[in-house]
């Protein structure tokens, strides 16, 4: 019961943030970039609900636009990871043998690198842009999909309905993609929500380190990094973007946990 209520809260947070991210370009794109040096580092007030930053830009507007950036990166990265990781892991699990071994060792090698380090190396090598940022985040997410879907396929592929499909003259591809996959989607769906949280965090970290979006983009990580020097005189400049990151990640994690409970993993044991 408690879990369900928490999951509902998570869903609520995710929906609100998604809506804000969608609306941000209309609500905030003007205020987010308008500088006002006379009004720097001002605390929350009537004109600026969350105060202003070092250049006197409205923090609330920047956070809204930051949500939009974070969601775009997360959506692209997770989609790419899904599109690459799921078929790869599925085929590996279904075919088994040498292909399976090769793919899984490759994934193991990928996992052996610390994810953040790999992303930093990737961005440092190819330069910062939206696409490289997404690629860096996606590379971190691919192993998860590959392994989860492979495990699910392995569990399904010896079931009799698969054999029945084979005896019905269906091809291997058809059996894998239209018979087995629909039965494997639940754990992947949970992973997608959790990966959104990871992706947002990773994007923020990279931006914080100066490897994400260049200023003046209102990325949450970048905002934190810009606020670093003023923590003592104007803590709100760092607190609000930090809160935005935490809240978003909390929302996705609660939703993911809730989904996992709904698709009780015990139902797959049989």
């Amino acid at each position: 019961m408690l879990r369900n209520r928490l999951a509902t809260l998570g869903l609520f947070i995710v929906v609100v943030i998604t809506l804000l991210a969608l609306a941000a370009p209309w609500l905030a794109s003007e205020n987010a970039f308008r500088m006002n040096l006379a009004d720097r580092l001002a605390g929350p007030s009537h004109g600026h609900i969350l105060g202003t930053d070092t250049y006197g830009r409205d923090i609330f507007a920047r956070i809204l636009l930051g949500a939009s950036i974070a969601m775009q990166v997360a959506l692209t990265a997770v989609s790419v990871a899904f599109i690459i990781g799921v078929p790869l892991g599925g085929i590996a699990g279904y075919m088994g043998g040498l292909f399976d071994t090769a793919v899984m060792r490759l994934i193991d090698a990928l996992l052996a690198f610390p994810g953040r380090l790999l992303a930093i190396a990737l961005v440092a090598a190819t330069g910062t842009s939206f696409l490289t940022l997404c690629a860096a985040v996606a590379v971190n997410a691919i192993p998860g999909y590959t392994r989860v879907i492979r495990a699910a396929v392995l569990m399904q592929k010896d079931k009799e309905y698969v054999e029945a499909a084979r005896m019905n003259g269906e091809s291997g591809a058809r059996i894998l993609f239209s018979e087995i996959f629909p039965n494997c989607l639940a754990p992947v769906l949970v992973l997608v929500t959790l990966d959104f949280a990871h992706a947002i965090l990773l994007e923020s970290s990279l931006s914080f380190l100066g490897l994400g979006f260049p200023p003046p983009a209102p990325s949450w990580g970048l905002m934190l990094s810009e606020a670093r020097g003023y923590m003592e005189i104007a803590p709100h400049v760092a607190i609000f973007p930090g809160l935005a990151i935490s809240l978003t990640i909390l929302g996705f994690n609660l939703l993911g946990d809730g989904l996992r409970d709904v698709f009780d993993p015990r139902q797959y044991e049989r």
Binding site: K159, E160, Y161, E163, A164, A165, R166, M167, N168, G169, E170, S171, R174, E179, P182, N183
Partner: protein, 336 residues
Amino acid sequence: MFSIPGNMKGEMEAPLLDIQNLRVELLLRRGILTAVDDVSFRLREKESLGIVGETGCGKSMIALSIMGLVPSPPGRASGRILFEGVDLIRKKERELRRIRGREIAIIFQEPLTALNPAFIIGEQVAECYRVHFGHSKRTAREGAEHILDLVRVPSPKQVMKLYPHELSGGMRQRVMIAIALACQPKLLIADEPTTALDVTVQAQILELLEELREKMKLAMIFISHNLGVVAHLCDRIAVMYAGALVEVTDVESLLQPLHPYTLGLLDAMPLPEHRDEYLKALPGNICDLIYPPSGCKFHPRCFKAQEICAQERPGLEMKPLDHAVACFFPVYHEPS
């Protein structure tokens, strides 16, 4: 040296299925397991053959090899499986796929696990039409409705919208039969189709199978360990022991079995008249298939075994009319 068991009358007419010296070996770490050992039989169109034997005697392996689905590795099938004159063992996977489900269909033992839990019944029945005839969604759905009606699923329109777990066992088996018959195959293989069902439902399903076989002019291979069911449903019966055929006969003459093993099976059947007696079980266990006994594989358990049985292997030979048996000392008296 293979003989042609059964039916001399049908000799002229080309058989639908002609299995010659089929051998299925599984290469295991412990050694080579001979799951099907030199099996030959023929099946004419519209004929139904029952294959009986203990668990693990290779019944299902025969079915798998006809479908070209012996898992390989570790499996290896050799011999010839002529279906309408074409050897299935030498066919390519792609060609086999066109035969599976289209020409030869199979019904499984456990209908719940054989249906995909993620799809509604309608989609699964329609699938065959889409795979084999490339029908559009709508025509496939109409075909599905028709075939479900044919297997007497009540109100097929509603049932098509249900998921497999929402149906009863008998209903699921009807759906399985519908899927198998959807493409009007020439040969139906039923692999213990009623084992998982209640006795009353079992009777209904058997009746349905018999009726459909008549209506659709199907040839059928019915695999079971239930002699009663097979005797009821089939024209001919093949008895298997440890991967080999030991006796092939018409249903009528099965009650006078020639092979001691068949006799043992018949004696082991519980009958209402003998309800106060102990069941007569065959002594011993089924033999090791990797290192089978020398000579006749049944000799260690056979009450008629003599020296020659341990040395030479009896071939399947015609005894009196239409009755083939692989035994040096066939039994010539009524079972007690």
